[in-house]
């Protein structure tokens, strides 16, 4: 009995008897292989276009609500805001304010990046530098930059240096933190590849660490930019009046004081538009040309 079972084993492993077959593959008769999408499908597939659609919808909603409220001081309509925007752009008041804001912003941003680079270099070079960065970031990252403004005004007076100081604080920590985290996350294989070529320290940082950490660095730059932008407008609202230049925050503040509410809205709209432009044109382009092209980000 057991003998019979043993002999049956190999037979049982095969499946039930079915004939084998080989087929010729035909190359006709299967209908659609590839067919271009219709016009509507193509348009709907375009993310940019869909977002423009959302914007148009929101503008219509705003216009309808403004007409319904019918109170220029509380809620000017979309068209009134656009008219105010147009007037102030034409008169050069708004572009001047935007330019003044941008100038201060870029100064603070670049100074913040330079300091972040130094801190990250220290952190990468030594363990105590890394500890220093960790402690400083843990302390200062949760501190809103605007909270430092009163102190900055005492130290640097009423003017651009105070704003630049708070901007540096806004940029520095997120950029340094992300860059350092990115450096630490660089694949050990890339590190070994870099060392295999026998390149020096500077070359190693420049051609292995920085590109390898680029997704994190870019995130840091974007967060830093957003923090700086918000901090700047807030700071200008608080004491833009005395800082001579008169940026966008000051423009909003001034128009509120003279009850030019459509212009207040126009100022806010400009803040939004500039933010969108930098995010979508500058950072998106950099992303597309680097991390997406390299397949490091989808």
């Amino acid at each position: 009995m057991s003998e019979a079972v043993k002999h049956a084993m190999p037979v049982q492993r095969a499946t039930t008897a079915r004939p084998e077959f080989v087929r010729e593959v035909t190359d006709t008769g299967y209908g659609v292989v590839e067919k271009p999408l219709g016009v509507f499908e193509t348009l709907w597939g375009n993310a940019g276009l869909r977002k423009v659609g959302v914007l148009v919808f929101l503008a219509c909603l705003w216009q309808a609500y403004g007409l319904w409220v019918n109170n220029d001081l509380l809620m000017p309509t979309f068209t009134q805001t656009v008219a105010a925007l147009w007037t102030d752009v034409a008169s050069g008041r708004l572009p001047a304010a935007a330019a003044a804001s941008m100038k201060v912003l870029l100064q603070g941003y670049v100074a913040g990046l330079a300091l972040a680079a130094i801190l990250t270099a220290l952190a990468t070079a030594s363990r105590i530098g890394s500890d220093l960065l960790d402690v400083l970031t843990a302390m200062f990252n949760p501190l809103p930059s605007i909270a430092l403004l009163p102190l900055a005004m005492i130290w640097f007076g009423l003017g651009d240096p105070s704003i630049i100081f708070v901007l540096i604080h806004a940029v520095l920590w997120s950029v340094a933190l992300n860059t350092h985290a990115g450096f630490r996350g660089v694949s050990p294989t890339w590190r070994m590849v870099g060392r295999n070529y026998g390149i020096g320290q500077i070359g190693y940082i420049w051609s292995i660490l920085i590109p390898g950490a680029f997704p994190s660095i870019l995130t840091g730059l974007k967060i830093g930019w957003a923090f700086a932008w918000r901090t700047l407008i807030a700071a200008e609202l608080v004491f833009g009046s005395s800082s001579g230049g008169g940026g966008l925050g000051w423009y909003v503040f001034e128009n509120k004081n003279s009850l030019e509410i459509p212009s207040v809205f126009a100022g806010l709209l400009t803040v939004i538009l500039l933010g969108l432009v930098v995010e979508n044109l500058v950072f998106r382009t950099v992303e597309r040309l680097t991390v997406q092209r390299w397949g490091m980000q989808q």
């Binding site: 295999n196 390898g212 092209r293």
Partner: protein
């Protein structure tokens, strides 16, 4: 520079390697001795945990031996250098921010070997050798695993190193691609006769790729045997095929005496 035409290219002399984990000091391999001659296809074969990859990294100059010396052309190996190019198992060994061509060119320029046009020509010559000319301007993430490994091999060969170190380069490939890559590697060797140090845990791969096979025992790795191979897996005088003999030595004989166990 010492030109030792007859002597060994690489000497590993009583090398013990240790590394630290969070809790332990691990001895990866213990008092390893072997010599690699020019144009050898020297395969290091052993079970997981025999320290074969650690040994390869030590030869690469990434890990310093706690005992013994590794000498290349008579000079002690102390740090990584372009005279010992590594090909890793990982597909991410290509720098993703560079195209295939740039990856190879960067190796040549970063190490200061060649510049500009010459670097580009050398790179394209070796990319052509691994049949990837069509993909020279593609970024690595658009390539398949086998193609990435071929670029890594082209990069290693373009540097024309004294010895090419390969750490299980085909282990992460599917079986069909692996066999094709082994054939291609042997064809490349036929052409240029480079010296190869190749780590694997696959007996069939060792027998096929290697001209000389070093067997390591497990944990900590010690030299068990060294044997010649012509790729055909011949029957020895005892009537056993080479691969069967290796398998018996690695898995079916009692573990070697542990008289040297003093971690």
């Amino acid at each position: 520079m010492v030109e030792l035409s007859g002597g060994p290219l690489l000497e590993v002399d009583g090398v013990t390697l240790q590394y630290r984990t969070k809790r332990n000091l691990v001895t990866a391999c213990y008092r390893i001795d072997f010599e690699i001659h020019r144009s050898d296809r020297f395969v290091i074969l052993g079970p997981s945990g025999c320290g074969k990859s650690t040994l390869l990294k030590a030869t690469g100059g990434y890990i310093a031996p706690v005992e013994g010396e590794i000498r290349l052309n008579g000079a002690v190996v102390r740090r990584p250098g372009p005279d010992r190019m590594l090909v890793f198992q990982e597909f991410d060994q290509l720098l993703p921010w560079k195209t295939v061509r740039q990856n190879v060119v960067f190796a040549l320029t970063a190490s200061g070997q060649l510049k500009g046009r010459e670097a580009d020509e050398r790179a394209m010559h070796y990319i052509d050798k691994v049949n990837l000319s069509k993909f020279a301007d593609s970024y690595p993430h658009t390539l398949s695993g086998g193609m990435k490994q071929r670029v890594a091999i082209a990069r290693g060969m373009a540097m024309e190193p004294e010895i090419l170190l390969m750490d299980e380069p085909f282990a992460a490939l599917d079986a069909l691609t692996r066999v094709r890559m082994q054939d291609e590697l042997l064809a490349l060797w036929e052409e240029t006769r480079f010296t190869l140090m190749f780590v694997t845990h696959s007996i069939s791969e060792a027998v096929k790729v290697g001209s000389r096979i070093l067997l390591l025992s497990a944990h900590p790795g010690q030299v068990r045997a060294e044997m010649n191979s012509d790729g055909s897996d011949p029957e020895g005088p005892d009537g056993m095929r080479l691969s069967a003999r290796i398998e018996r030595m690695l898995f079916h004989e009692g573990t070697p005496e542990r008289e040297t166990e003093n971690v």
